[in-house]
């Protein structure tokens, strides 16, 4: 029983997914309730997670393959928040499409449950299963739209995702072959004992793992699918993809690389790989984002650049002790801040594109007069993405850069801050278009209440954590601290 208790939050969400399907079969005329059932499931997961926080008695389950600890709890909250916001933001769109509503919500919930399993997984097989549990629904969701572009997005995402999974498995088998165990803690022990003899094998395994997860994180050079999938997939799904799988991939990578491969003989090497990937992602992502005219493609490239920013934190992790906590908590802080900021931006895009029927940045001209609240919220989210105070994005960036400086990665931080300048240019160009551009039509746009709620939650979070970042920073530090003591 206690083992089910440990995975209770995930079970609550999976139960809600089942309930959504059953409800649809039994009461097809009451489809309007579906999203609320989904929300109840997410809410249950949050409550259950909170009971673990209150109990404070963190432990592992299933022979140590799954853990509930501060780190898992932090990400469970983040994923529950993402799931809730995505569900609320989808209501309008799903009603309009009016096709297989129950399946849509069930898939979103299943994917979220997979993400939450990832947060606590401490074993290679569990990690792989959880990753597939979250990925397969996302492949389907990406192809959810009826048009050709959406089908293309789904197919592209599926094929490239399959290749990434294969690479990942290959890397995992190498680690298993080396250590004879899939448990991260056993692998770590094996590396400490005789890792020096098989260093090249371990490095190859690390590279394969980075390639597999790099696809999920959407970092250069594994980013090719991003703009097409974001543009083709339905916008609520794109919002989900842009934050959910990215955050989960970072959560898992930190666990694997620190718990499993954290030994000094390896960490210097993978830290350098991360640093190079970070620099490439930031630079290429931003340069391509500048020339985009479609806002979803722009957000796609910007998410590549943002992943590069997170990765500065990963690269800074390899140095032990207090500095490690800096880098790790910087990544966590950034993931959380980015998740809500980027969701907010996508939701505002959903709200606007539903009304004007276009994702073209040029059509956003004068949005300030047509839909002041949407424009203001989108502006706040974009400013946060650019890392300009007083927003959550600023502290996240500052914290990660700080970690980079501490880890002696000044060159990477300089590339990072210069990239911030470049990114400010294209983020603010949208803001300028909305506030200073001349609208072709003056008609006011009405926002649906569900969009307003989802957008309000994300935007208020961005501002509140921008002015009082301490609680979020504290939570991130506590979550990261489990590695320092393990």
């Amino acid at each position: 029983m206690s083992e089910l208790d440990i995975v209770g939050p995930q079970l609550a969400i999976l139960l809600a997914a089942a309930a959504v399907l059953v409800w649809d079969a039994l009461l097809p005329n009451r489809r309007i309730c579906l999203p609320y059932i989904a929300l109840i499931g997410v809410f249950g997961a949050v409550i259950w997670t909170s009971t673990w926080v209150i109990r404070g008695d963190f432990q592992t389950a299933f022979d140590g393959t799954f853990a509930i600890d501060q780190y898992a709890v932090f990400f469970q909250y983040v994923f529950a928040g993402i799931a809730a916001i995505v569900v609320v933001a989808s209501i309008d769109w799903v009603n309009r499409v009016d096709r297989r509503q129950s399946e849509y919500f069930a898939l979103v919930l299943t994917a979220s449950a997979g993400l939450m399993f990832l947060a606590g997984a401490r074993d290679l097989i569990t990690i792989f299963l959880a990753l597939e549990l979250s990925s397969i629904p996302q492949y389907i969701l990406a192809g959810w739209g009826k048009d050709q572009r959406s089908s293309e997005a789904g197919m592209k995402y599926l094929l490239l995702g399959a290749i990434a999974s294969a690479l990942l498995l290959y890397g995992m088998t190498m680690l298993y072959g080396f250590s004879g165990s899939t448990l991260l803690s056993d692998i770590s022990v094996a590396i400490t004992e005789n890792g020096a003899d098989s260093r090249s094998l371990l490095i190859v395994a690390s590279v394969l793992l980075i390639a597999g997860f790099g696809f999920k994180m959407a970092v250069v050079p594994f980013q090719m699918w991003v703009p097409d999938v974001y543009q083709g997939a339905p916008t609520p799904v794109a919002a989900f993809l842009s934050v959910g799988s990215k955050a989960a991939a970072f959560a898992v990578v930190m666990r694997i690389f620190f718990e499993g491969l954290g030994e000094q003989i390896l960490s210097d090497d993978w830290a350098m790989i991360f640093a190079v990937i970070a620099a490439a992602s930031m630079t290429l992502g931003n340069l391509f984002a500048i020339v985009q005219r479609d806002i979803k493609r722009m957000l796609g490239y910007s998410s590549i650049a943002q992943a590069g920013n997170f990765m500065i934190g990963l690269a800074a992790i390899s140095i032990a002790g207090e500095h490690f906590v800096q880098g790790a908590s910087g990544v966590l802080l950034f993931v959380a801040a980015y998740a809500f900021t980027n969701l907010g931006a996508f939701i505002a895009v959903i709200g606007i594109s539903q009304k004007i029927g276009s994702d073209n940045i040029a059509d956003y001209a004068g949005m300030w007069r047509r839909a002041p609240l949407l424009a203001l919220a989108l502006a706040i989210c974009l400013i946060s993405l650019a890392g300009i105070p007083p927003t959550a994005g600023f502290w996240a960036k500052l914290y990660v850069f700080n970690a980079g400086i501490r880890a002696d990665l000044a060159w990477l931080v300089i590339i990072g801050v210069l990239n911030s300048v470049v990114s400010a240019y294209y983020y603010l160009a949208v803001v300028r278009q909305m506030f200073l551009g001349e609208a072709e039509e003056e008609e006011r746009l009405a926002i649906s209440p569900t969009i307003a709620v989802a957008l309000g939650i994300s935007t208020v979070g961005v501002i509140v954590f921008g002015i009082f970042p301490t609680p979020l920073v504290d939570a991130a530090r506590e979550a990261a601290a489990i590695f320092a003591t393990s």
Partner: protein, 486 residues
């Protein structure tokens, strides 16, 4: 508490203005005037309550973010160097409100932006926590961008974006330097940093010095980082030019003295000669380029480059006298150039041209404006008994022993400035009367008189009674130059 009230008072007035109903939009100028007058009165009160030579005073200090090794404070304080600049800011804010009394286009947003601009500049001059300082430094970009791009003229969006990108690029370097310093010393407290003996950091200290200098030199501006300034000036509305030339450029000079010189005195000793050389080149280059200008505002903008070069020359000499001269030059230039822009703004409102070739003989048609222009021009040339003369002579005396050749170059620049100012006055104010301006009225509204007379009176006061301010600046600079000397 007093300093906090002073800094946020303009922003508070700005929020009040935004809350005015649309039908009462014309009241916004009165709210802005009231807010800036109260701030002015407060700052003058503080000026006389300040104990000369008593170090930092009116300190407001509270812990803001305190997580792990990351301590950020809310820390405001003024010393003899910053307090005169604070008074200058509140004074020029009042003048800027007065000269924009006739604004018709979106007055609420205009005055609110102006007020936020004032708060951010006051924040830069009073913040004693390096991160807080950086936040205020960045905050200034938003109102400036809006003020130039919405209420400007000509290529206003281009100029506004250029201004923002130059500043952000500079502050990117600044942020790296701030983080490196804060990491090695474990604090963002500028007072502590200014007393510490920093011998090493994660970056070589000469890089830290250089990065900070780049961030501030963009603002000053120095040749060759000055090209944003003429564009920004020529496209900005009058009040914004007043603020830009009057106080925004001073942020650069102030910050170099406060941080580069105070925190890193050894590096200052090593690179002082370079600062002096860049300063002298800026003086000469600015003066030469001024000769070719046909737009009055661009002309004044280049003369600002020249005059701010004197500030850098004074700083580069590192002695007490020279740096006091530099600080005094900042005040004098703020008032004189502020006055020049006010008068040119009045002239432009009536003639609608700033082309020197199209103007002429204005002494007949607008005698008061012409008088103001001639007075401001003479002050700019450095006529004895006016503020500019005191500043220039102090810089020259202070710097001569250390950097003879640089002073000789700069003196030649001052001679050139006499040439271009007098030549401009001759073409604009005197010469044949042009019939187009026969119907143009002279300066007649009370707010026009108030801003011109107020500024002119201060220019005279600072010229005939320099010890009023010198006695305040001198001890503060004395502490800094003592650090550099030994």
């Amino acid at each position: 508490m007093l300093l906090t009230v002073l800094v946020f008072l303009p922003a508070f007035a700005g929020i009040m203005i935004l809350l005015l109903p649309a039908t009462r939009a014309s009241y916004s100028r009165w709210v802005a005037l009231l807010g800036s007058l109260i701030a002015l009165a407060l700052s003058i009160g503080m000026f006389f309550a300040f104990e000369k030579g008593g170090g930092f005073q009116f300190i407001d200090k509270a812990s803001w973010i305190d997580v792990g090794a990351f301590h950020v404070q809310y820390f405001l304080g003024v010393d003899g160097l910053s307090l005169p600049l604070v008074v200058l800011t509140t004074f020029l804010t009042t003048a800027a409100v007065l000269v924009s009394f006739r604004i018709e286009h979106r007055p609420r947003a205009y005055f609110a932006s102006l007020m936020v601009l004032s708060t951010s500049v006051l924040g830069v001059f009073t913040a004693m926590d390096f991160l807080l300082f950086f936040l205020f430094w960045e905050l200034e970009l938003f109102p400036m961008y809006l003020l130039i791009s919405v209420w400007g003229s000509g290529r206003r969006e281009y100029s506004a974006m250029k201004f923002v990108l130059y500043t952000v690029a500079g502050s990117a370097f600044m942020l790296v330097a701030i983080l490196a310093l804060a990491f090695s010393e474990g604090t963002f407290d500028m007072q502590l940093l200014g007393e510490a003996n920093i011998s090493s950091a994660v970056l070589p200290l000469r890089w830290v010095f250089l990065f900070l200098f780049i961030g501030f030199a963009v603002k000053l501006p120095i040749v060759p980082l000055h090209t944003w300034l003429p564009d920004a000036h020529s496209d900005a509305p009058t009040a914004v030019s007043v603020m830009l030339a009057g106080v925004l450029l001073k942020m650069g000079g102030y910050a170099i003295i406060r941080t580069c010189i105070t925190i890193l005195p050894d590096q200052a000793n090593d690179y002082g000669i370079w600062l002096a050389a860049i300063g002298a080149i800026s003086v000469l280059y600015g003066a030469f380029v001024t000769f070719r200008q046909t737009d009055v505002k661009r002309l004044i903008a280049y003369s600002s480059v020249s005059h701010m070069g004197l500030v850098l020359l004074g700083i580069g000499a590192l002695g007490t006298t020279a740096m006091v001269g530099a600080a005094y030059q900042m005040l004098a230039h703020g008032l004189i150039t502020g006055l020049l822009f006010v008068v040119i703004g009045l002239m432009y409102e009536r003639t609608h041209t700033r082309e020197i070739g199209k103007l002429g003989g204005l002494a007949r048609q607008m005698p008061l404006i012409a008088t103001g222009l001639v007075f401001a021009g003479f002050a700019s040339v450095g006529l004895p008994a006016l503020a500019g003369f005191v500043a220039e002579i102090t810089v020259f005396i202070g710097a001569f022993q250390k950097h003879e050749w640089a002073v000789l170059m700069a003196i030649f620049g001052v001679v050139l400035s006499a040439g271009y100012i007098l030549w401009t006055l001759q073409r604009v104010v005197f010469g044949p009367v042009r019939s187009e301006w026969d119907d143009a009225d002279d300066q007649k509204h009370w707010w026009e008189h108030a801003s011109v007379v107020g500024l002119a009176a201060l220019v005279i006061l600072l010229g005939v009674y320099p010890s009023l301010i010198m006695d305040m600046i001198d001890p503060a600079i004395g502490v800094i130059s003592a650090r550099v000397a030994g």
